[in-house]
Symmetry: C2
DNA sequence: GGTCTGCGGAATGTAAACAATAAACACGGT
DNA sequence: ACCGTGTTTATTGTTTACATTCCGCAGACC
């Protein structure tokens, strides 16, 4: 079946990997969320694992068949992902996995620095003992990960640490925005992220930040949090500097398009 | 036709006001956006004008008939509004216009203060002459509005002023988040807003902020911008203090539900 | 009298069918 | 040989139809 359209889903043939992923997500949602939501998670998973690479188009019919659902939920999921910032949809052309430009990465880091800094400042002024204990536990776990060199464990600990700080800060909108943008970066630039390691430095920064929060020093906490985010940005830059090609364009707008496969 | 479900759209009978609104939006979009997008704008308009009040349920079939489209685009619009934060959808129960609690309003103001402050700081360091001219023009227009006492003109000038600052700051994600949250507040708490006037004070704050930006004083601009937002919050609080009942609950979750109309 | 169970109906969730759009191919003119 | 135009076809946008879920009420049972 030759196809005239530029690029297809990519992981089309053979792999029914999406279907089982959807099943898993749907079970995890336990019927408390709609099917479209499950498809959304499945698509996120496919983006995360690279089954859907930046620039790829989300063929509704194909994905629907692959996931064993109708086009409706797929459409719904695609629009949801658009709001999340993971895909771009063009009228009558479909949804494309975004490839986020370096400038946008920088701007997002900048935004996250401000948000994270403010969260830390807020938290320093309202921390309760239970939260303090949780933060300490998370930090301790990361110390272990650093000692044993477990990158994956450190990575999830790092995510949890940041998540706890913004959640504990008490400002829900801020928390949502921060986590959303962080997730976006994670999903669209994943490979660069785990290469950006340097756990030790990050861990030290965490401890300094945590100390300021525990001490109730709001402004100091803000500075440490901002600095930590900016340091993370620097590590990211260093990682991609020699690691891989810097950038691709944002959206298949004019003629140029991704090679697909 | 008696209806068992708690509340209906409210503006159901007679008024085909939604249909013409949709037609207008669809023409404005000029076929460059999907129908669902037009419905989304129409629904926003209905929320803004109060045709859909907080707590009201969005009956898909009813709205579809009213707007002269099918349920599909209505669903799509409802989900879009959910991500915008204007409605809450509950599985198998439908979409409800959110009634945003006072605590969330406060948190959103807090977030906006930080974002607006940072935007001002960024802008102070990168302002170009053309942008400076535009900001001056906007400020001048608001001066006129204050002088003549035109509340509506001042209101739109105010919106434009804030919008220009965040757009000129160069950080797109920040801009999007700020404008989105501001819009949310505007649509869900509109009546309180235009009562919160006190144009003169706000105008003075604008001038102080603009002066700092034009002078390139980043940190001072940040302080002024944050202070301005917090002052706006204070004005808002003062306005609702004696104006109207403070709050209702966020979402029709358990048994309690809005009276409808 | 109160509580629980079963029925009825309306509205949402999902799937399938129809219509419209845009890209790729093929042809003909210049 | 190149460019423009007409045609074809896949794919999305939209409508319609079907399945499922949940709420409210009535009657029976305790």
């Amino acid at each position: 079946m030759q196809q005239r359209r530029p690029s297809s889903t990519g992981a089309a043939e053979g792999t029914a990997t999406g279907a089982e992923a959807l099943a898993a997500f749907r079970q995890r949602l336990a019927g408390r969320e709609s099917l479209g939501r499950g498809v959304e998670l499945a698509l996120e998973h496919m983006i995360e694992t690279g089954a859907l690479q930046p620039g790829a188009r989300l063929n509704e019919a194909e994905l629907a068949a692959q996931l064993g659902v109708s086009r409706g939920p797929v459409r719904e999921a695609a629009r949801a992902l658009e709001r999340t910032g993971l895909v771009t949809v063009i009228l009558n052309r479909g949804a494309f996995v975004r490839s986020i430009g370096l400038d946008e990465v920088m701007q997002t880091y900048e935004l996250n620095a401000v948000l994270f800094g403010h969260a830390a400042a807020l938290l320093a002024a309202r921390l309760d003992p239970a939260q303090a204990a949780q933060l300490r536990a998370t930090a301790a776990g990361m110390d272990d990960s650093v000692a044993t060199g477990e990158r994956e464990a450190f990575f999830s600990g790092n995510t949890l640490f940041h998540q706890q700080i913004v959640e504990f800060c008490g400002n829900r909108p801020l928390c949502d925005v921060y986590l959303g943008h962080t997730r976006k970066l994670l999903l669209l630039r994943r490979r660069s992220f785990d290469a950006a390691g340097n756990m030790r430095a990050a861990n030290d920064e965490h401890h300094r930040l945590l100390a300021a929060i525990l001490a109730g020093e709001a402004e100091q906490a803000r500075r440490h949090a901002e600095a930590h985010t900016r340091a993370g940005r620097a590590r990211y830059l260093a990682a991609i500097a020699h690691g891989e090609a810097a950038e691709d364009n944002k959206t298949p707008k004019g003629k140029k398009r991704h090679v697909g496969n």
